[in-house]
Point group: C2
Chain length 585, copies 2
C-alpha cells in the first residue's frame, strides 16, 4: 500500500465525492430541501464530519485553508454568478446596487465597529483590551454580505428579479470595499501611528481596487473573446478559454491586490456575448453546464468545510461580545437599508417597497468569506474571540435567517419572479421602448441609462464586434433566415408565373440580381426573374430600392441632435449600393 504517493489527489477527490453524494442524498427526500435550505444541511453534514474527525483524532479538525478558499473554491462560484448575471436588471439598478455595496458596507463597518467598541468599554464585560482599531477590523470582515450564502438561499426562494439583483449585486460588488477596508485596518493595526494621509490613501485605494478590478477583468474578457475567433478548426478546446481567461483575470487582480471578484465578474460579463457568438453550440453547452457544475461543487464544499471548521478549540466564548455582534449586525444593516432606500426612492419612479426593504435587510447573510478573512487575521490575543463571534454570526444568519426567509416571503406575499419567459411581443415592445427612450433622452439632453446603452451598443457594433467576432455581420436568427428563404421562393414563383410582366426579346443584363436587404427581409431574384424585366422597369426599381434600402439599413443610430436625417454623403450611399449589388452577383 502506497498511500503517501496518491494522498493529495485522493483526498481532494474524496471530499468532492462526499459533497456530491451529500447533495444527492438531500434530493432523494424531496421534502427536506423545500423546508431547510441546502446550505444549512451541508453545514450540518460538515458539523457531523468535524465531530467525527475531532472524536477520532482527539484534536481540532483542520480548518478550511484561506488560500484554498480564495484561490480554488471562490472563483468558480463568482464566475458562474458573473456569467449568468441577468445584465438588464443589473445595469438598470447599478446605481442602487453600488450605493448599497459601497455606502452601505462602509456604514455597516463603522456602525458595527464603533458600537462594539462601545460595548467593550463596559467594565463588567471584561473586554477593555479590544481596541477601536481591532473592533473596526472585525467590523470590516463581518459587515460584508456573502455572495455564496446569498446565492444559495435566494436561488431557492424565487423572489422578483429586482429584489434578487439588489441583494445579490450588493453581495458581489461589496468585495472591493471589504478588501480595501480589511487591508487598511489590518495595516493600521500594525502601524505605530496613523496619519491622516494614510486615511486619504485608503479612500483613493478604494477606487483603484474597484476600477482596477473592472479594467483587469474587461481586458482579459476581450482577450478571451478575441482568442475564440481563431478556434474554428479546433472546437474541442473552446470551453477551456472561457475558464482560463476568467481564472487568470481573478489571479491577476489578486496579485495586484485588486478585487478579484469584481475582475472575474467583469471578465465574464464582458466576454459572454462575443464568446457565445464565436464558439460552437456544443462548446457553449459544455461551458454553461460545467460552470454550473463546478460552482455547485465549490458551493457544497464551502458549506461542508464551514461546518467542519466550526468544530474544535479555536473559540473563545464571551457572551456579551458575541450576542451584541449578532444584534448590531442586524440593526445596522436594517438601518442602512432604510436610510439608503429613502434616498434611492426619491430619485426613482419604480420605488423599493417596504416589504422589499425588509427582505433586503433580512437577506444580508454572512458566509465563508468572513470566515476565511477572520482566520487570515494576524495573531493577537483576542483572535479566538473574533473567530467565535464570526462563526456564530454565520451560523445565525445561515440557519435562522436562511430558514425563516422563505416563510417570511410567503407571509409578506413579496412579489415573486414571473415563471414564464417574456413573449415575443413583450420582447419587441421592450426593445422598441429602449430605442424610443434613448431618442427621448438624447433630445432632452438627459444622459440617462438608455442614452449610454445606445452609445455602447453603437460602439459595440461599430468597433468591438469587428475585432472580436469571427463573422462581422450581425448574426441572423433562424426565423429571419427562414423568412428570407420563403420570400425568395415566393419571388421566384411569381416570376415563373409571369406576373411581373413578360418581355421575351430582351438583352441580357450584367446586373443579374438584386439584394433588398432591410433588417429582416431579403429578396434575391433569379436568372429567370431578371429575364422578365425590361431595362426601364429595372432602372426604376433599382432607383427606388437604392433610395429606400439605405434609409432602412440606418434605422439604428440614425437620429442625432447634431445631424439631420439624410445628411450623409450621396457618394457613400452609392458606394454602399454598389457593394450590395456586387454581393448579389
Amino acid at each position: 500500500l502506497d498511500y503517501q504517493h496518491v494522498q493529495v489527489p485522493f483526498e481532494i477527490t474524496l471530499w468532492i465525492m462526499l459533497a456530491s453524494l451529500a447533495k444527492i442524498g438531500f434530493h432523494l427526500y424531496n421534502k427536506l430541501p423545500s423546508v431547510v435550505p441546502e446550505s444549512c444541511l451541508l453545514i450540518f453534514v460538515g458539523l457531523i464530519m468535524g465531530g467525527i474527525i475531532y472524536g477520532l483524532n482527539d484534536r481540532s479538525p483542520p480548518v478550511m485553508d484561506s488560500d484554498i478558499f480564495f484561490l480554488y473554491l471562490l472563483p468558480p462560484i463568482v464566475l458562474d454568478a458573473g456569467y449568468f448575471m441577468p445584465s438588464r436588471p443589473f445595469f438598470e439598478n447599478i446605481g442602487t446596487i453600488l450605493l448599497y455595496a459601497v455606502v452601505g458596507t462602509i456604514w455597516n463597518v463603522f456602525g458595527i465597529g464603533f458600537s462594539l467598541y462601545g460595548i467593550c468599554q463596559v467594565k463588567a464585560f471584561r473586554l477593555q483590551d479590544v481596541s477601536l482599531l481591532h473592533n473596526l477590523l472585525f467590523g470590516s470582515l463581518i459587515a460584508a454580505v456573502d455572495p455564496v450564502a446569498v446565492l444559495a438561499v435566494f436561488e431557492e426562494i424565487h423572489v422578483n428579479e429586482k429584489l434578487h439583483i439588489l441583494v445579490f449585486g450588493e453581495s458581489l460588488l461589496n468585495d472591493a470595499v471589504t478588501v480595501v477596508l480589511y487591508k487598511l485596518f489590518r495595516s493600521f493595526c500594525e502601524m505605530p501611528t496613523i496619519k491622516s494621509v494614510d486615511i486619504f490613501a485608503g479612500v483613493g485605494k478604494f477606487f483603484v481596487v474597484g476600477l482596477g478590478g473592472v479594467l483587469v477583468g474587461l481586458s482579459f474578457g476581450f482577450t478571451a473573446a478575441f482568442t475564440t475567433r481563431f478556434t474554428k478548426d479546433i472546437r474541442v478546446i473552446e470551453p477551456l478559454f472561457v475558464f482560463l481567461y476568467s481564472y487568470l483575470s481573478y489571479l491577476t487582480a489578486e496579485m495586484f491586490h485588486l478585487s478579484g471578484i469584481v475582475a472575474i465578474i467583469s471578465c465574464a460579463m464582458g466576454m459572454k456575448r462575443y464568446v457565445e457568438a464565436n464558439i460552437s453550440l456544443k462548446s457553449h453547452t459544455t461551458v454553461k453546464y460545467f460552470m454550473k457544475m463546478w460552482s455547485s461543487v465549490s458551493d457544497t464544499l464551502i458549506f461542508i468545510f464551514l461546518g467542519v471548521s466550526t468544530i474544535g478549540e479555536n473559540h473563545e466564548w464571551n457572551w456579551p461580545y458575541i450576542c451584541f455582534t449578532v444584534i448590531f449586525c442586524l440593526i445596522w444593516r436594517a438601518l442602512g437599508v432604510l436610510v439608503l432606500t429613502f434616498f434611492v426612492n426619491r430619485f426613482h419612479v419604480n420605488t423599493i417597497t417596504s416589504k422589499d426593504q425588509f427582505i433586503i435587510a433580512y437577506g444580508g447573510l454572512r458566509g465563508a468569506i468572513c470566515f476565511s478573512l477572520v482566520f487570515l487575521l494576524p495573531d493577537f490575543h483576542r483572535k479566538k474571540l473574533f473567530i467565535a463571534a464570526t462563526t456564530v454570526v454565520i451560523l445565525f444568519t445561515v440557519f435562522i435567517q436562511g430558514m425563516t426567509i422563505r416563510p417570511l416571503v410567503d407571509l409578506l406575499a413579496v412579489k415573486r419572479k414571473r415563471e414564464s419567459a417574456p413573449t415575443v411581443g413583450e420582447q419587441i415592445h421592450i426593445r422598441f421602448l429602449d430605442h424610443l427612450l434613448a431618442g427621448i433622452e438624447d433630445i432632452s439632453g438627459h444622459w440617462g441609462q438608455y442614452y449610454w446603452k445606445d452609445k455602447l451598443e453603437y460602439f459595440n457594433s461599430k468597433y468591438l464586434q469587428k475585432i472580436l467576432l469571427r463573422e462581422y455581420d450581425q448574426p441572423k436568427s433562424s426565423i429571419v433566415l427562414l423568412y428570407e428563404k420563403l420570400e425568395r421562393k415566393h419571388a421566384m414563383e411569381l416570376a415563373q408565373a409571369g406576373q411581373l410582366g413578360h418581355s421575351p426579346a430582351q438583352p441580357p443584363f450584367l446586373c443579374s440580381a438584386f439584394l433588398c436587404s432591410s433588417s429582416d427581409r431579403t429578396v434575391i431574384t433569379d436568372q429567370k426573374l431578371e429575364d422578365t424585366l425590361n431595362p426601364a422597369v429595372l432602372d426604376n426599381i433599382q432607383e427606388i430600392l437604392a433610395r429606400n434600402l439605405y434609409r432602412i439599413r440606418r434605422t439604428g443610430p440614425a437620429y442625432n441632435r447634431h445631424t439631420l436625417p439624410g445628411d450623409s454623403e450621396p457618394a457613400e450611399r452609392a458606394k454602399e449600393i454598389l457593394i450590395l449589388r456586387h454581393k448579389s452577383l
Copy 2:
C-alpha cells in the same frame, strides 16, 4: 505585487494557456498539421521554451515531474481512450491484443535487455560497468509502446479500425506488464541475491496487477453507474461522477501497486452504457466534450513538457549505447510482430496482412511514460546515460517514425477507415449474424466469443440493468416512441369511425385496455375503443394476444440446447399476461 500567493495556480493556468494557444497556432496554418504530426510540433515548441528557460536561468529547466505526469496528466488521456474505445473491434481482437501486449512486451524487454548487455561486453565501448539487471531494467522501460504517442499519431492517419485497435489496444494493455517488470527489476537491482522464488513471484504478480486493475476498475465503474441512478433531481452534478469515479479507480489501483491504466479503462468501459442511459443528454454532451478537451490539453502539455525536459544537463552521451538502443528497439519489435502474427494468423480466418504487420511494427512509438519512468530510476552512476538513450528513442520514434508513417500508409495503400457510418441495414445484419453465430456456437459446443457475448448480454439484461439503470425497461428510441404514438392514434381513429364493430348496449369492462407490447410495437386502446367491442370479440382477441405476446417477448435468449421451445410454465405465462393487463389498467 504579491506573486508568491498566486504562484501555483497562476503558473499552471499559464502552462495550459500556452498549450492551448500553441494548438490554435498550428491550426491557423492548415498545411502544417497535415504534414507534421501535432506531437512533433508540440515537442518543438517545448524545445524552444526549454532553450529560452535554459538561456535565461543558465541552468537546466525543470524536468517533468513523474508524479505530475502519472497523477494528473496521464489519467485524463487514458480515461478518454477507455470511454471512447470502440468496444466491438476491441473485444473481437482481444486475444491478439493481449498477445501483443503481454508476450510481445516481454519479448521486447528481454530482447532489448540481453542484446544491450551484449553490446556492453564490447570493451571498446567502455560500458562494462552496466550490469545485466540494469540493462533489463532499461529494457523494461524502453520496450513499452506509449498510448499517448500512438493515439496522437494514429488519430491523424485514419488506418482501418482493426489495425488501429491492435496498436492502440496493445499500447494500453501493456501497462500491466511494464509496471510489473519495471518494479521487479528495480527491486532486483537493490537486492543482494535473487532467488528463483522471486522470479516466480514476479510472474504471479503480473496476473495480480492486471486482473486486480480490471477488478478495481469494474467495481468503481459499476458504483458510478449505480450512483447516477439517483441524480434525477440534480442533473447538474451528473458529469462529475463519471470523472470522480474513474479518477478514484486510477488512484486506488496505483495505491495498491496495480495497473492504474488498466483500472481506469475497465472503469470507463464498464460504466459507459449504464451512465449514458441514466444521465441527461446535456450531461452526456458535457461529459464527452469535457473528456475530449481535458485529454487534448493533457496530451499537449505532455509533449510540450517532453520538449522542455529534453534541454539541459541531464544527459551522458555514449554513441554506441544510444545508437544500438534505437536499432534494437526497431529490430526486436519487428521480429516480435512477425513471430506473434504468424501464430495469430494460423488461428484466424481474417488474417493480418503483411502491410498491416509492417504498420504495427512501425507504429510502436515511445513517449512520455518511458520518459517519466527513467527519471523515477534510483540514482546510480549510469542514470544519465539511460536518460539520454530514452530521450533519443522517444525523439526518434515520434519525429522520424511519426512523420513518415503517413506517407508510408499512403504508399503501401493500407486499408483505410471507412468514412461513413454503417447503414441501418448493415447494423441489423451484424446484429442478426451475432445472434445466429451465438446459436451455432452453442449448438456446436464451441464456446467462442459470440457465445460469451450472448451470455454476458443475458446476464446484463437480467441482473445488471435492473440494479444499475434508473428505468428497468429497455430504453426506447425516439423513433419507436413515435411509431407507438401513431399506432395508438390510428387505433383510436379506427374505433371512432366504428370500423371495429359497434354495439352500443354493452356493460362496462374492468379490463379497459390492452397493451400489445412486442419489442417495438404498442397499441393501447382507449375508453372509446373498448366501448365498441362486445365481450365475445374481446375475449377472442385477448386469447390471441395472450398466446402470441408471450412468445414474441421471449425471442431474445429463448433457444438453448438444454431446453425446448415452449418449455416454460403455463402458470408463469398467465402471470405475465396478468401483469401486462394490470399495467394497462
